[in-house]
């Protein structure tokens, strides 16, 4: 009797979040899947509810969409790797080398940019990288050749790396903090040099942190469209831009849905991979 009542209580407790999840999240996913098999009338913009594989046929046969998908994934991978490399030294110092007060100061400094608008930060990079921007002014003053990174994939790489660095840094710091000080001591004790200790103990134990960080750097980069729009140039289209222009410009929601399926599959596969590497263990 009480057991039954208890069960009822659990159900009542879980019903709102699960109902929410089912209706809004899974429901919209299902609608997305469904509309990928529809088409749009190019003149009236009306969605024709007739089953067709045309959207997928175009995706498979037109190399444009493969190139764009490859670029999106490629830059996301590059950004992830760059952020891992950039985050390590600072994360290591924050987690293991400084006192609690200095740690707080450094963490606040890392988080500081996150309190400003993302658009403002992206725009400021336009001012830095632009032809008559801050960077070229410095280069000119120093007598060095000018750069023309503005509106190129290099600019995209730089800006994405900058945007997501804190999101790689934080999980890495907490992963490093979780490694007991006795483990590197023990490795050194058994003859491992500091580099061997790093390679065999600290790095492998920080993998969950890097995996958690890469969920941001990789998966979020993958779905981005604002940054390519603002700092990308000719040949910087992301999957998100194609989806955006099909929804917001040409009104072709079925095609956008079909293309986002690819995004969904890639992100889904990545999440499974990240979970294998312990990305969600700390949570």
């Amino acid at each position: 009797m009480t057991g039954g009542r208890k069960l009822l209580g659990h159900v009542a407790l879980l019903l709102p979040p699960f109902g929410w999840l089912t209706v809004f999240y899974l429901g919209s996913l299902f609608a997305l899947l469904l509309s990928a098999f529809w088409q749009v009338d190019s003149m009236s913009g009306e969605i024709l509810h007739e089953w067709t594989l045309d959207n997928f046929r175009i995706l498979a046969t037109d190399s444009t969409y493969r190139v764009i998908a490859e670029r999106t994934i490629g830059i996301a991978v590059l950004v992830t790797i760059t952020d891992i490399i950039l985050a390590w030294p600072l994360a290591y110092v924050i987690a293991r080398k400084v006192g609690p007060r200095m740690k707080l100061v450094l963490l606040v400094l890392v988080a500081l940019p996150l309190w400003s608008s993302m658009l403002a930060r992206i725009y400021s990079w336009r001012l830095i990288l632009g032809h008559d921007g801050v960077l070229n002014w410095f280069l000119r003053t120093a007598g060095l050749p000018e750069q023309s990174f503005a509106f190129t994939n290099v600019a995209l790489w730089i800006v994405f790396t900058y945007l997501w660095l804190p999101f790689m840094l934080m999980p890495l710091v907490s992963a490093l903090e979780r490694i007991p000080a006795s483990l590197p001591d023990a490795a050194g004790d058994m003859g491992a040099t500091p580099f061997q200790t790093f390679r065999t103990v600290i790095f492998p134990l920080a993998i969950p942190g890097m995996a958690a960080g890469s969920v941001f750097t990789f998966a979020v980069t993958l779905g981005e469209y604002v940054t390519p729009m603002l700092v990308g140039g000719a040949g910087s289209e992301f999957i998100g831009n194609v989806v955006y222009s099909n929804v917001g410009v040409s009104g072709n929601i079925p095609f956008a849905a079909a293309y986002s399926m690819i995004l969904l599959v890639v992100v889904g596969a990545y999440m499974l991979l990240a979970r294998r590497f312990g990305a969600f263990d700390g949570a």
């Binding site: 490795a187 050194g188 004790d189 058994m190």
Partner: protein, 338 residues
């Protein structure tokens, strides 16, 4: 490391070591210590007394502010841990969670480039020594605390170092397991002949296992000696109080140590024998501890008092508020140097 002179050198020699952390007060105020080869040496003291810091200086995990560290006659004061022929068993075991037990034990050999076959054979053997050879492919997280402790021991032994440092290795175990492991550790130390330097705050553990003990207090060594020496002839009030339970009596401005087990409680008021001292008083408190019963006797002035441990059979007639006389032989009263 193994030239002619070092064969006769002590395993560890520390001279005038000092160490302080940050701007805090000094942790070590000048430690001089010699540990012999093959010895089971214990550093005993309350927390904050400097024993663990001394251990870390021997292992090379920290560097002293001044003073020198010698291992087997070689000066290693500023060498990093990986260049010292020492292995450590850490308080939290420090097992690598991402490796199997086998890989944990074989870690040091792998680092030093020992071949795969030899590595595997020696690791299996070391695990067998601690009865864990059957579960070598498990991860540390799948083991109980006692099992982890054994793996840590196997990992320290497998490299056949000249010295093993043990930092309160039994602290996290329950009493029964702890007793078993004390015996096992001692046996393994005897079998292998490796010098053990053992840190503990548990005086009973120190007494039962050690060849010699150094008692630490506030950054200095109060006394070094065999368990018997420390118990029977403590060099200071601190050692006397820290090792075993003790009564300290004041007589003519001097401190007299009286062990509770040396005190008899006489229920009849008869004259003292010439070789005996005594204190008449009332039984304040009786605690039955199994083989012995602890009795607190307070003298007539209300201030002086002694605690006696009497065999439980002889304590049957005692009850609280009973008038008794605590008596002890003159030889058992040990005057402490001030």
């Amino acid at each position: 490391m193994t030239d002619e002179s070092s064969l006769h050198a002590p395993a560890v020699s520390l001279t005038a070591l000092t160490k302080s952390y940050g701007h805090g007060k000094p942790v070590l105020k000048g430690i001089d210590l010699t540990i012999r080869r093959g010895e089971f040496f214990t550093m005993l003291g309350p927390s904050g007394s400097g024993k663990t810091t001394t251990l870390r200086l021997i292992g090379g995990f920290e560097l002293p502010d001044s003073g020198e560290v010698f291992l087997g006659g070689d000066k290693v004061t500023s060498l990093p841990p990986y260049r010292r022929d020492v292995n450590t068993m850490f308080q939290d075991y420090a097992l690598f969670p991402h490796m199997s037990l086998q890989d944990n034990v074989a870690y040091g050999m792998k680092i030093r480039g020992v071949g795969k076959a030899e590595r595997s054979e020696r690791a299996t053997k070391a695990l067998a020594m601690v009865h864990l050879e059957a579960v070598g492919d498990r991860r540390p997280s799948q083991l109980s605390g006692g099992q982890r402790q054994r793996v840590a021991l196997a990992r320290a032994l497998v490299n056949e170092p000249s010295l093993i440092l043990l930092d309160e290795p039994l602290g996290a175990l329950d009493l029964k397991l702890r007793r078993e492991m004390q015996v096992e550790l001692k046996n393994i130390q005897k079998q292998t002949g490796i010098t053990f330097v053992y840190v503990t705050h548990d005086q009973e553990e120190a007494l039962s296992m050690s060849d010699r003990i150094a008692v630490f207090s506030e950054g200095v060594i109060e006394q070094i000696g065999t368990p018997e020496e420390l118990y029977e002839r403590p060099a200071s009030g601190f050692v006397a109080r820290f090792i075993g339970s003790s009564n300290i009596l004041h007589e003519n401005g001097r401190e007299i140590l009286l062990r509770p087990e040396d005190i008899r409680l006489e229920q009849q008021d008869y004259a003292l024998a010439s070789h005996e001292d005594g204190l008449p008083g009332l039984v304040q408190e009786i605690s039955y501890l199994g083989p012995v019963t602890r009795c607190r006797v307070t003298g007539a002035d209300g201030d002086t008092g002694v605690t006696a441990m009497v065999p439980s059979r002889q304590a049957r007639g005692l009850s609280e508020n009973m008038a008794v006389r605590a008596v002890w032989s003159k030889e058992s009263a040990y005057p402490l140097s001030s």
